[in-house]
Point group: C2
Chain length 369, copies 2
């Protein structure tokens, strides 16, 4: 049962656009960025939605690690590929532009691939793959991020939580949208365990002595001190397939930087040797595949939908309510929220009010009544 007050999609969208503009982001770019953040809220993925508006975007514009005006240099452009230098502008604006280019290329040539470097946080990876999916194509994307994941048999945070994301068209009401980090969890999940007073399951985090840690509060403290690292899907060691998750995290690390020749691993820490903020210089990759150049979109959709329906209808474990396919929970969140708007908790309410006052904007939020 949701206890937080809802804010309408329209109001929050207009508000975010106006604040972005006040921070120097051009209006068209501000509209893209607000839409990307709100898409996360539409899907019920609250870790990447309006909660990140201030800390990950506005605060970084303020501290100079994120430039509000995105100068995009196309350094390579072939019939099927693009490489873009985003010049440390808005990663979401750069990603939007490159996806538009790739969709056009894949419409003509069937396959397209792009890489962005010198970029910043690009929001939920699924926004970009969904752009392809809405155009009737397969979208694939990934990004690197600041180092927090240790390799198998290692203890040092080396790689980002590196999402590897796929949108596959289906003949259903919702696509097969697989959008998640290749680490088992992100920091946000451990914060969630802490708030619930719950231990973190064993094997999600590795400590300097090679063991794991389950005290959620302690994990957060040690993580900040660099004394523990997250683990990729499969967890600690090799026995449960930890090297497979480690492999996927590494694939994303490589594709995110090697196609464009950008920085990687510890170079992405966002801090210089003295601990001062520095530019993030993130890299992203994007592939678009057009089923019309195979056996057609209808065939693809029908087959993909058939697989999803088959999986959901298969025998459930006793006590299990239902079997989901990727994108289904996000679709259900949208159905729940589309008429109501975004639930906004107290911390975000305060941020919104402060931002409105700071920018001298004329908004009145429903939670102020």
């Amino acid at each position: 049962m949701e206890t937080r007050p809802y804010v309408s999609w329209e109001l929050i969208n207009n508000f975010m656009i106006d604040v972005f503009k006040a921070y120097g982001v051009p209006e068209a770019d501000a509209a893209i960025c607000a839409d990307v953040l709100l898409e996360s809220d539409r899907r019920g993925i609250e870790s990447h939605g309006c909660n990140r508006f201030k800390p990950i975007y506005l605060d970084r514009i303020k501290n100079g690690t994120l430039l509000p005006v995105t100068k995009m240099d196309i350094v390579k452009d072939t019939p099927t590929t693009v490489v873009m230098d985003a010049n440390n502008g808005m990663g979401m604006v750069a990603s939007h532009r490159i996806m538009e280019m790739l969709i056009e290329k894949a419409a003509k040539y069937g396959m397209a691939g792009g890489a962005v470097y010198n970029s910043t946080h690009y929001g939920i990876a699924g926004y970009w793959t969904s752009m392809a999916e809405k155009a009737g194509m397969i979208g694939i994307s990934g990004t690197n991020a600041r180092p927090s994941v240790a390799p198998t048999f290692g203890v040092e945070p080396m790689m980002g939580t590196n999402p590897f994301t796929f949108s596959l068209p289906t003949d259903e009401e919702f696509a097969f949208d697989f959008d998640c980090a290749t680490s088992i969890v992100q920091n946000g999940k451990i914060e969630f365990y802490e708030r619930m007073g719950k231990p973190t399951p064993a094997g999600l985090v590795v400590t300097k002595d090679g063991g794991t840690m389950t005290d959620s509060g302690k994990i957060l403290k040690e993580m900040r001190a660099g004394n523990c690292a997250l683990l990729s899907i499969g967890g600690l060691g090799e026995e449960n397939g930890g090297f497979k998750g480690y492999g996927f995290t590494t694939i994303v690390e490589i594709l995110s930087s090697a196609l464009a020749g950008g920085p990687y691993l510890k170079e992405l820490s966002g801090k210089d040797a003295e601990g001062n903020n520095k530019l993030y210089r993130l890299g992203h990759f994007f592939f678009v595949i057009n089923p019309e150049f195979f056996m057609g979109l209808d065939t693809f959709k029908k087959t993909a939908g058939g697989i999803c329906r088959g999986l959901r209808a298969s025998q459930k474990a006793p006590g299990a309510e239902r079997i989901y396919t990727a994108g289904e929970k996000e679709h259900l969140a949208w159905l729940e929220r589309k008429d109501k708007g975004v639930p906004v908790g107290e911390a975000i309410q305060k941020e919104f009010i402060a931002l409105r006052d700071e920018c001298g904007l004329d908004y009145r939020f429903p939670f102020e009544n």
Copy 2:
């Protein structure tokens, strides 16, 4: 310490080619198939090497579920894509042909994608991605397989162990070769645990009651009876990221059949309703990406190599011997074996002798002395 006798690469290669020929496989095709199987042995992946020669290929040619002559129909051919009907011939021959076509397309256009349907077991997925890598390109491939993996919250074997495989060029002696099933383990690993008298770790297998099972002998028995299923990376439930592994397995299931419109899930059981053998009708997909259409192969190799070196040099867990990157163990296996040949255990020795006699061939194996 290896105790099995070695057979030279040349002898075993010639022998396999001659046996394939005796089974009706044309000479050029036989050479491809022998090379694919031996590549697995070269990498030390014994589950997919000469041990499979008889049960997975020759026995299936005999029972009519694998046709020795591979009629390949190209049903779609564009500058960047190919769809091929393999007409239930040798999956390895079809995959070799399509990869040759895709590498040529990616050399010209930068990106290429292919799908094969009505196919059969295609050997190690890594063989196909390595073809791209040897041509200075990125290779990506996956295949469906008979149902053995249950979805998250499910208990029924629905999907194959569906490998998702990537070869990424590096500036090192070996590429980043990531080649593995998206399930935590395959049957072969549980057979290995049984032989060692060891329990299977909890969470790798789900039983009909939704729990797990660790008695390796019992798992194998119940698996054959369809009473338990394998799980994707991340294992049982959602807590350890099981839905992420389930997502990857599903992506491979979808791409393997939807691009070509081929069958999926339980249709791939290889058995009809009466339990008789039927055609497998497997599907595979292949993507080839040419770094020269991004910032160049040298840039890609140097960056990818830098990431691999950085990971291997990172802080190890106390007691951990070393940190590996994907493809490294396989490279070490090759260095160990290249002058010695293939270690052949007793069961395979007997198979080889019986095959030689059956085909009336004139080979003498070193283990017969």
